[in-house]
């Protein structure tokens, strides 16, 4: 038993048992953030708050949602939307937040790519972040199944059918998995078993994984510290010393709490204005009308498309015939993970100061947007051609990245 003296205050009592003051220093009061940042650095907090909104609204939806193919649709669209006090509010918040979280994830991700925040000590931040993206994608997909509308059913049908693509002649037949699609579904078609297992994933397993990954993401951030607008390597000990001496103007850093936090919260406020405007006045983009038709296994809607944040990925799959398409799709999921290792340059700097990489960045961004829009359009005529070109450009960009970054300074 370690030696304990009588404490003279509640603060001291807590410090003896939980090191509260030290934790507060490490996590907030003396967690140094560079001054040389812009509002994009607040996207992490925006994501955390959006995730909290999803969780809280989800808790109230969970009180009344019925995971049964005969009851699900009406439990959402009748019970929750018209009977439950403020049920409509939780549902709208949940739907809009599910869409906006991906907008902010992409902004957050591309900020990291732009400023080179994925390399030189920050690889784990990047990798844990990409894992978060993948798990959030699974969470969104599983969530979309739950209202059991037409889009829920047919998206479920189409995406699980992808696994039928493993034909017997890939890799000497080991990829042949007869019945894999039925195994995933728990039935021949998306039905009750399919719905309830995705309910389990959405409500319990994936949220737990997300929370764990967020913890890892924060832990990975603590030692390297966040990046800054110039990619400058800061001597945090020196900067911290200056700040604590009272030379706050000369120091290159600020404490997370309260200084950086105050900027975070302001950016959050601006975001919430947009967020609540969408929740109350403009939610159709996040709650697609097609999903307000109850699921009908005998009738496919005229146009099926995933939610917007999956469209770029969907479009990489679409232009190619089945097996190459699946390979391209698989590549697209993994490509961003490889970013720190494909980038052969040591320079941490904003893209506009990285020669060739500048062009790589903007072409990638525009290409992702083109892929997204093409993914929504019906795969006919000129849209098909543009989509194919954009998919090829995406793959080519990653293949070319090692060469681009090796030569970026020679431009």
């Amino acid at each position: 038993m370690a030696h304990f003296e009588k404490a003279n205050s509640i603060q001291e009592w807590l410090d003896q048992r939980l090191a509260v003051t030290t934790v507060k220093k490490v996590m907030a009061l003396e967690y140094w953030i560079p001054k040389n940042i812009n509002f994009l650095w607040a996207m992490g907090m925006v994501l955390a708050v959006t995730f909290a909104l999803l969780t809280i609204s989800g808790i109230f939806l969970l009180m009344y949602y019925k995971p049964d193919t005969g009851l699900a649709f009406d439990s959402v669209n009748y019970t929750i939307m018209s009977e439950v006090g403020f049920g409509w509010l939780w549902r709208h918040i949940h739907g809009v937040a599910a869409s906006l979280v991906f907008l902010v994830i992409y902004i957050h991700m591309f900020t990291g790519i732009y400023y080179g925040s994925y390399k030189k000590g920050r690889e784990m931040i990047w990798l844990s972040g990409m894992l978060l993206f993948v798990v959030f994608s699974a969470e969104a997909f599983s969530g979309y199944m739950l209202p059991w509308g037409q889009m829920s059913y047919w998206a479920g049908m189409v995406i699980t059918n992808l696994f039928e693509g493993f034909s017997p002649d890939i890799a000497g037949g080991i990829m042949n998995a007869p019945g894999l699609v039925e195994w995933i579904r728990g039935d021949y078609v998306p039905g009750d078993a399919f719905l309830t297992r995705f309910f389990m994933l959405h409500v319990l397993l994936l949220p737990l994984v997300i929370i764990g990954l967020i913890g890892l993401h924060f832990a990975a951030l603590r030692i390297p510290h966040v990046n800054n607008q110039d990619g400058e390597e800061i001597d945090y000990d020196e900067a911290a010393k200056l700040y604590k001496e009272g030379k706050t103007k000369e120091s290159k850093v600020i404490p997370f709490q309260p200084v950086f936090l105050s900027k975070d919260v302001f950016v959050l406020g601006v975001y919430l204005i947009l967020f609540f405007y969408l929740v109350f006045y403009h939610f159709n983009f996040a709650m697609d009308p097609v999903n307000f038709d109850p699921a009908d296994g005998l009738k496919t809607p005229a146009h099926i498309y995933p939610e917007w944040y999956f469209l770029w990925s969907y479009e990489i799959l679409r232009p190619f015939p089945k097996d190459p398409g699946l390979i391209a799709f698989g590549f697209a999921q993994v490509a961003f993970f490889l970013l720190p290792f494909l980038d052969k340059s040591d320079t941490v700097a904003p893209a506009n100061r990285r020669g060739l990489f500048k062009y790589w960045f903007w072409i990638m961004l525009v290409d992702m947007i083109v892929l997204t829009v093409m993914g929504k359009l019906p795969p006919t005529g000129i849209w098909n051609h543009i989509g194919l070109v954009a998919a090829v450009v995406f793959i080519a960009l990653f293949v070319a990245l090692p060469w681009v970054t090796k030569n970026e300074n020679k431009a």
Binding site: F60, M63, G85, F86
Partner: protein, 166 residues
């Protein structure tokens, strides 16, 4: 200087808690409230006209059994009786006031006997023997000619409440 800073932070925190947190908590409380369909099911209308004398009729109200016993002329009158359409009825929640079992009615003896621990109630619901501490509970009711609406507190029920019967 630091005071000004702390003040703004406190102002923000206070405003968020009061103008944001409180309404949010209110909305959450409302989501927990019983649904309108549940509250509507809290009213049951019973037609008394076809009920025979000294034969126990059991209705359902808010998930509970409700005893309705039409008293014949020779059965003793009681201030606990519900008078409707010229006849006298015993109306009560059919759960023994001891531990909640449903007592059975014996028309020959005009009394309720509870099988669980032997408690007995007379035809007016008064506890006469055994462990039950109180008479059978009278639910809120409203008389509408030949029908009564269970769940609605009519003037007769309010009178009973005043005199401690209900």
């Amino acid at each position: 200087m630091s005071n000004r800073r702390d003040f703004m932070g406190l102002a923000l925190g206070g405003f968020t808690a009061l103008a944001g947190g409180l309404p949010a908590l209110y909305a959450m409380k409302r989501s927990w409230d019983p649904l309108p369909s549940v509250k509507a099911a809290g009213f049951t209308e019973v037609d008394l006209s076809a009920i025979p004398e000294n034969e126990l009729v059991t209705e359902k109200w808010r998930g509970k059994p409700i005893f309705i016993l039409k008293k014949s002329a020779d059965m003793p009158q009681d201030e606990r009786d519900v008078v409707a359409g010229g006849a006298r009825y015993h109306v009560s929640i059919g759960l023994c006031t001891h531990l909640g079992c449903i007592p059975a009615y014996f028309p020959g003896e005009t009394k309720f006997k509870c099988a669980c621990h032997g408690g007995e109630f007379d035809a007016s619901g008064k506890n006469t023997f055994g462990p039950p501490p109180k008479p059978l509970v009278i639910p809120p009711f409203k008389v509408n000619g030949n029908t009564i609406v269970l769940g609605e507190a009519g003037p007769e029920y309010l009178e009973m409440q005043k005199s401690g019967i209900a």
